[in-house]
C-alpha cells in the first residue's frame, strides 16, 4: 500500500525533474523567461496520447512528443525574435493561452473538454511497462538520460554561448555569434523536454484533458527553477524532489481533492514569493535574475 504510494510519487518527481530542467535551460542558462512552457508540455502530452491511441509504438510516440513541441518552440522563437524582457514573457504566456484554447475547442482532434481517455501503457521492444514499478524504472531512466543530455548541453561550447547571450547579447553578437539561433535552439530544447514530460503525464495517468495545461500548472515548475537557482542543474533536481513531496501531507490531513489542487498552487506561489523577496538567487543559483 505505502510502497505503491511511494512509487506514484517518485514517478511524478521524475516528471517534475524533466520539466524543470527543460525550463531551467531557457530561464537560467539563456535568460528567456519562457511562460509558454505549459503549452509545450500540453503539445507533448497530446502528441503522445494521440499517437499512442492510434496504435503507434511507444518509442515513436515518445520521440514525437519531443519533436513536435520542438518545432513549435522553434516557431515561437521565430515569432518572438525581436521581443525582449517583459514582452517576451507576455508573448510566450499568450502562446500558452492559444494552445489551451485550441486543445479545448478543436474537438475533432483533442475531444475538447472531455479529454482523451484510455491511453495504453508503454510497451518497448516486447517489454511491458504496465505496472507502476516497471513504469517507474522506465521514467527514472528517461529522467537520467534527460539530465545527462541537458548537462552535456550546458557544459558544451554551445552552452557557453547561451550563457554569454544571457549575460550580454550585444557583446555576443559582436563576437560573431548568431544569438537568435542560439535562443531559438534553447527554446526548442526547452520545448523538446517539456514535451517528453507531457508524454509521461499522458502515459502515467492514461487520460489527459485541457485542464492539466492551464497557466496555473506553470507555477510549480517556475518555483523549482527559481528555488533551485538559475543556472544550476543540481539545484533544480534537488528543488524538484523537495517541492514535489512537500505538499503531500495535505493528502493525509483529509482535505477533499477539490481543495488539495488549489492549496498546492497556493503553497507554491507563496514559497515563490518568499524566495523572491528573501533569496532571489535561489539556493544553488549561479546568476541573478535580470
Amino acid at each position: 500500500m505505502f510502497s505503491a504510494y511511494l512509487v506514484s510519487i517518485l514517478i511524478l518527481v521524475g516528471m517534475a525533474i524533466i520539466e524543470s530542467l527543460a525550463l531551467q535551460l531557457a530561464v537560467g542558462f539563456t535568460g528567456l523567461l519562457n511562460l509558454g512552457h505549459a503549452a509545450f508540455y500540453c503539445i507533448g502530452a497530446y502528441t503522445a496520447a494521440l499517437l499512442a491511441l492510434a496504435g503507434y509504438p511507444f518509442w515513436l510516440c515518445l520521440l514525437m512528443a519531443g519533436v513536435v513541441p520542438m518545432i513549435f518552440g522553434f516557431l515561437l522563437a521565430l515569432l518572438t525574435n525581436k521581443i525582449k524582457g517583459d514582452y517576451f514573457a507576455l508573448a510566450t504566456l499568450g502562446f500558452t493561452f492559444v494552445v489551451y484554447a485550441v486543445a479545448l475547442n478543436w474537438t475533432d482532434l483533442t475531444n475538447g473538454p472531455l479529454g482523451l481517455p484510455g491511453i495504453p501503457k508503454p510497451n518497448l521492444f516486447g517489454l511491458d511497462f504496465s505496472d507502476n514499478i516497471s513504469f517507474l524504472i522506465l521514467i527514472l531512466v528517461i529522467t537520467l538520460i534527460s539530465y545527462l543530455i541537458i548537462k552535456r548541453i550546458t557544459i558544451s561550447p554551445f552552452g557557453k554561448v547561451l550563457a554569454a547571450t544571457r549575460d550580454n547579447e550585444m557583446a555576443t553578437k559582436v563576437l560573431g555569434k548568431n544569438t537568435f539561433k542560439m535562443k531559438a535552439c534553447a527554446l526548442a530544447i526547452n520545448a523538446f523536454f517539456a514535451g517528453i514530460a507531457g508524454s509521461i503525464l499522458a502515459y502515467y495517468i492514461t487520460y489527459i484533458d485541457p485542464s492539466s495545461f492551464t497557466i496555473m500548472e506553470m507555477i510549480p515548475t517556475l518555483c523549482v527553477v527559481i528555488i533551485g537557482g538559475l543556472g544550476s542543474l543540481e539545484g533544480t533536481v534537488i528543488a524538484a524532489v523537495i517541492l514535489e513531496i512537500l505538499p503531500e501531507p495535505l493528502r493525509f490531513i483529509g482535505f477533499s481533492s477539490s481543495i488539495i489542487g488549489p492549496a498546492r498552487q497556493m503553497i507554491y506561489a507563496l514559497i515563490l514569493l518568499v524566495i523572491l523577496i528573501y533569496k532571489p538567487r535561489g539556493f544553488w543559483g549561479k546568476v541573478k535574475l535580470e
Binding site: 525581436k82 493561452f97 479545448l104 475547442n105 497557466i215 507555477i219 527559481i226 489542487g261 498552487q265 506561489a269
Partner: protein, 289 residues
Amino acid sequence: MIIVQLLINGLIAGAIYALVASGFSLIYSTCKFIHFAHGSTIAFSAYFLYFLFSMLGLNFWMAVILTIIFASLFGYLTNLVVYKELRKKKASNTILLIASFALLIFFESLILIIFGADVKTIGYIKVAEGLQFLGAVITPLQIIIIAVSLVLLISLFLFTKKTKIGKAMRAVADNKDVAEIVGISAEKIYSWAFIIGSAIAGIAGILTGMEQNINPTMGTNLMIKGFAAAIIGGIGSVPGAIVGAFLLGLAENFGIWYLPSGYKDAIAFVVLFIFLLFRPQGILGKKNN
C-alpha cells in the same frame, strides 16, 4: 442586422477591456513592471460584491461602494507588502513580473478554495427586456456599462492631465530619477497608481460580474485581454490602451462570426502577436530604443 449586433457586442466588450487596460497601463507606465495580479483585483472585487450583496444581503449601492474601496485597498496592499519589499531589495523587473504572476495564481487558488469552482451570479439586475436598436438588441445594463466606462475613462484622462498627483505620476513615468530630484516621492506615486488603477479594476469586476456570471478564472481572462489591449494601443499610454481595448473587443466579436466562440480568447493573442511582430510600440505608442 447581425453586423450592428456584433458592433454593439464589440463595444460592450471593449468598454470593459478599456477599464482593465487603462488601470493596467497606469500601473505599468508609473511602476515599469507587468502587474499580472491586476486580474486578481478584478476577480476579488466581483466575489467581494457577491459576498456582500448576494450572501450578506447588503444594500446594493452600499455594497458597490465598499467593493470599490476594497479593490483600492487590495491594490495598495499588494504593492506595499510584496512589490515594495522587492523594490527595497533592488529586484529587477523580471523578479517583479514573476512575483506578480505568483500573486495571480495565489489569489486565483484562494478564490477557488473560499468560493469553489462553480459559477455564481450576482443577480441585482433581473434579466431585462433588451431594447431594439437598428435591428440589434442591447440591454439597459449594457448601456450603463458603456456609459460608466466612458465617464471613468474621461475622468482618468483629466486626472492625469490636470491634478497634481496625475502630473506627478506622468513625471515619474517619464523619468523617475528626475522626478525624485524635484521632490516627488516615487514610492508615494507608486501607491497612488495602485490605488487608482485597482479602483478602476474593481469597477470592471463589478460590471463584468453583473453582466455575466462570476468564476475564479474571470480575473485572469480579463487581465489577459486588458494587457493585450494595452500593448496593442501602445503600452504606457492610457488613451492608447483605450483605443486598443475597443479594437480588441471588436476584433473578438467579429472574429467569432467565423470561428467557434471558444476561440474568442485565442483571437486576443493572435491580434497581440501581429502587433508585437509588426508594430511592437502599439498604435499610439512612441518608438523607443
